[in-house]
Amino acid sequence: MDDINLIEAKNLYRHFGATRAVDGVSISVKAGEIYGLVGSDGAGKTTTMRLIVGALLPNSGEITVCGYDVRKHTEDARSQLGYLSQRFSLYEDLTVLENIRFFAEVRGLKSNEWYPRSMEILEFVGLANFATRRAGQLSGGMKQKLGLASALVTRPRVLLLDEPTTGVDPVTRQDFWQLLIQITSTPLAPNLPSPLHSSPNIGSGDGGEGAVAVLISTPYMDEAARCNRVGFMRHGKIIAEGTPSQLRSRLTDRVIELRGSPLKLLRRIAQEDLDVEDVRAFGDRLHLRVREGKADLVASRLPSAIRSEGGNVDGIRVIPAVLEDVFIELSEQSYE
């Protein structure tokens, strides 16, 4: 049961006039998996999400959520979905609990269902002590947790989160991710019946049956690194996909950190080296992307070149690539 794709989108196309917002996107996310859709504003992340929740129809392509065709069985598909949009709306005049009640009742839950569930979820996201506080009085991070709690109250098997952590405190962001990873690997409770599994399974552990599939979009590369799998989006297309480790391994032994002064001299000499493909300045150091197999060569000849022009080298070493390096490398390739 591990390989069931709770989200299955095939060859999605959606244009707005002449703009091809989503241009042939296929994504599958299975139970227990967090899939990160990464890209800049306008890359097509939000449109892809809106297609999957059925808020927008594709020009062509197929989408199923928990086995339900989103176009033909929209309500069934939606009953399995929790969606936190970029600008999710909370009722600021209602309390935390009243907000959750509202979302639960809209989804047709009765009070003997939603109430115990809400308290459990509020406990889980750390808002239990704030149940009677008005949403308008919550901090940014708490509002975001309330948004997540509201999306979770129907016990969805599929969670779609559109840039949920933009602008929040790193401490809150850390907590949010720990929650998300726990939701994904250990379900809170039995799920609603779905065509994929007739007998609900309680606390089945990590992965597989009962676990949740998460699709999250983010403009932040450091956040992408926390996902199980990542798809880089650019101009409506997914230009690369894989686990963070797989993506980073494209650039194993290809990134060098150089520390020294003056930075301007270091930059110039690095840029002049024919085996250096790219130079990124980071305040007190440089990251160089070098040609395959040339890391040792570059690391041995740059320091002498720098010293011969009166510069200092405090350190030079091969470092693991970060996802940002990979994204830049891929973007350059897609121009060629």
């Binding site: 790193p170 991710w177 450091d222 693991p320 830049i328």
Partner: protein
């Protein structure tokens, strides 16, 4: 330290009972690129508003380019540039028209200076493009151009690259470094860890207090209390539970497909492997990791 371009002494701002900026001290020297990192609401923008003389300090003092930021704010603003994330560009005007318009606000009538600015931010060839049809990355360059059209000695950037892709961000920072090399001093506020990495020195702001300010490398060395490890193990949740509370393990968390942990210095890879094996967790790999500015922030905040 007489060449400090920005000098902030015990700078404080209260709004009623609320202390938005709480006795902050720092200096920025000529040609430096300094980041001011903190979550929304931590006091970054209030600090900038005081440095630009838009808001009076409740206590303390800010000297900018040798002028008292509040009493001589006209002098400061004539010599400083400000690029805000929500900067208003006229969508119906072309790139050139926006620059001419904003240049005029600063009394720049010289077409030559407008041309130089276009060159400087790399907008050549886009002069007659309507602003509304620019991509996020190009809009940013235009906003930067407008902020520097009057050749400021000091530039404030407010979350300058949020929402653009890494390629555009890299190009933008190349421009910023070129300006810094020509002597412009740059102060960048951001809530974005990746962006702070680009700065020469970074100040960490939380609840109105400046928790630390140093180079990213120094912060990682001095503030993060140990070594970082990336642990690949199955099942992850059991691994998390196993490492929690182990002597010498300072912090452990889930990181997508693996665990990330910070241990006291001197702990070895083998120590972690043993703890996990003893609790029945399968370890496929333990790699030495790199500390991040987020680790620094979390260490300072907790």
């Amino acid at each position: 330290m007489s060449d400090a371009v920005v000098r902030v002494e015990n700078l404080t701002r209260r709004f009623g009972e609320f202390i938005a900026v709480d006795h902050v001290n720092f200096e920025v020297n000529a040609g430096e690129v300094v980041g001011y990192l903190g979550p929304n609401g931590s006091g970054k923008t209030t600090t900038i508003r005081m440095l630009l003389g838009l808001l009076a300090p409740s206590d303390g003092k800010a000297t900018v380019l040798g002028f008292d930021a509040f009493r001589q704010s006209e002098e400061v603003r004539a010599r400083a540039g400000y690029m805000s994330q929500k900067f208003a560009l006229y969508d119906d005007l072309t790139v050139m028209e926006n620059l001419v318009f904003y240049g005029g606000v600063y009394g720049i009538r010289d077409k030559g200076r407008i041309r130089e600015t276009i060159e400087l931010v790399g907008l050549n060839g886009h002069e007659s493009t309507l602003t509304r049809s620019l991509s996020a990355g190009w809009r940013q360059r235009l906003a930067l151009g407008i902020a520097v059209v009057h050749q400021p000695k000091l530039l404030f950037l407010d979350e300058p690259t949020s929402g653009v892709d890494p390629t555009a961000r890299r190009a933008f920072w190349d421009l910023i470094y070129n300006m810094a090399e020509s002597g412009v001093t740059i102060l960048v506020t951001t809530h974005y860890m990746d962006e702070a990495e680009y700065c020469e020195r970074v100040g960490m702001m939380r609840d109105g207090k400046l928790l630390a300010m140093d180079t990213p490398s120094k912060l990682k060395e001095t503030v993060v209390p140990g070594d970082v490890w990336e642990v690949f193990a199955e099942p992850l949740q059991n691994g998390l539970a196993a490492l929690h509370g182990v002597n010498g393990v300072l912090r452990v968390g889930l990181a997508g497909d693996h665990l990330r942990t910070i241990t006291e210095r001197g702990k070895k890879k083998e120590d972690l492997q043993k703890v996990l094996k003893d609790r029945g967790v399968n370890v496929s790999n333990v790699l030495a990791g790199e500390p991040t500015l987020e680790d620094v922030f979390l260490s300072l905040a907790r």
